[in-house]
């Protein structure tokens, strides 16, 4: 078991790399499958020192739900921001920095949360606090900063907590 761990430090990453290679080739053949598998073994092995801890994923099916929620939010929020850009004067926009306290502990989960916040339009995650207990988020238009913070915590952080911890 330990030997397998040494050779495959990140099994999911290996699988993902193989699939990415097959998609890059865009045509299925045994050749590309073999080469994709080779890349999937070699790349995690070489980069292992930079990613020593393996994230534990408790509920893989929840990831699908999370992705769907994020995609839906991206579409809705895009329309909202487009309206803000087109029909609001700059002076009426209340841009604000807000601080979102984090309950997540694992660095992978915090990274995913920060990426999600940036992708959903209207919010950009800018910084993490020195000990990693809060995220600094910039809002394009936030009349009620507490509501934005609450939204992030319930929609994204709660689901990520179920997936990672």
């Amino acid at each position: 078991m330990k030997l397998i761990r040494r050779i495959f430090p990140h099994p999911l990453l290996s699988l993902l790399l193989t699939i990415v290679w097959l998609l890059l080739v865009n045509r299925f053949s045994i050749n590309s499958l073999l080469f994709g598998g080779f890349l999937g073994i070699v790349i995690p092995f070489i980069t292992r020192p930079y990613w020593p801890n393996m994230p534990r994923i408790r509920h893989p099916l929840k990831i699908v739900e999370y992705i769907l929620v994020v995609l839906y939010d991206i579409v809705v929020a895009n329309v909202v921001v487009a309206k803000l850009v087109l029909f609001h004067k700059n002076e009426n926009l209340k841009a604000a920095w807000i601080s979102v306290p984090l309950e997540l502990k694992s660095p992978e989960a915090i990274t995913v949360l920060a990426g999600t916040i940036t992708l959903t339009p209207g919010t950009v995650s800018s910084d993490v606090s020195s000990e990693g207990h809060a995220l600094l988020v910039h809002c394009l238009h936030a009349p009620d900063p507490d509501a934005v913070c609450e939204d992030i915590k319930t929609r994204y952080e709660g689901r990520l907590k179920e997936i990672f911890e």
Binding site: N78, P101, V124, E131, H133, A134
Partner: protein, 127 residues
Amino acid sequence: MEQVYEILIVVFLVISGIFGIVGSFGLIKLGDPMSRLHAPTKATTLGVGGVLIASMLHSILIEGKLSLHELLITLFLLLTAPITAHFIAKAHIHRHETPEDLPDPGGDHGWATLQCDPEDLPENETS
């Protein structure tokens, strides 16, 4: 039937074009640098996403073969867009913000970007 497919593809192209224009317009219209950062993150998600969906539909419905390249472009975009936004935000914090401008980070000692020893800074910035 071909015509229905084409209309569907055109709808996706037009949607992505509109969001691309709004994103670029926001870049010049909005006031301060941090607000401007919001506009390009819009153009990449829905603007590019619409073109990619149209491209996939075109290859499936009209050329009759499955093309999954586009999923990969989406994946790479979704991975890289937050990172560039993060870099720009960090540069902005370094140059234009002081700890007093930013909200309190809860129980911690400060925001990571601004946590540096004054002695580490080059001479011209400390004076």
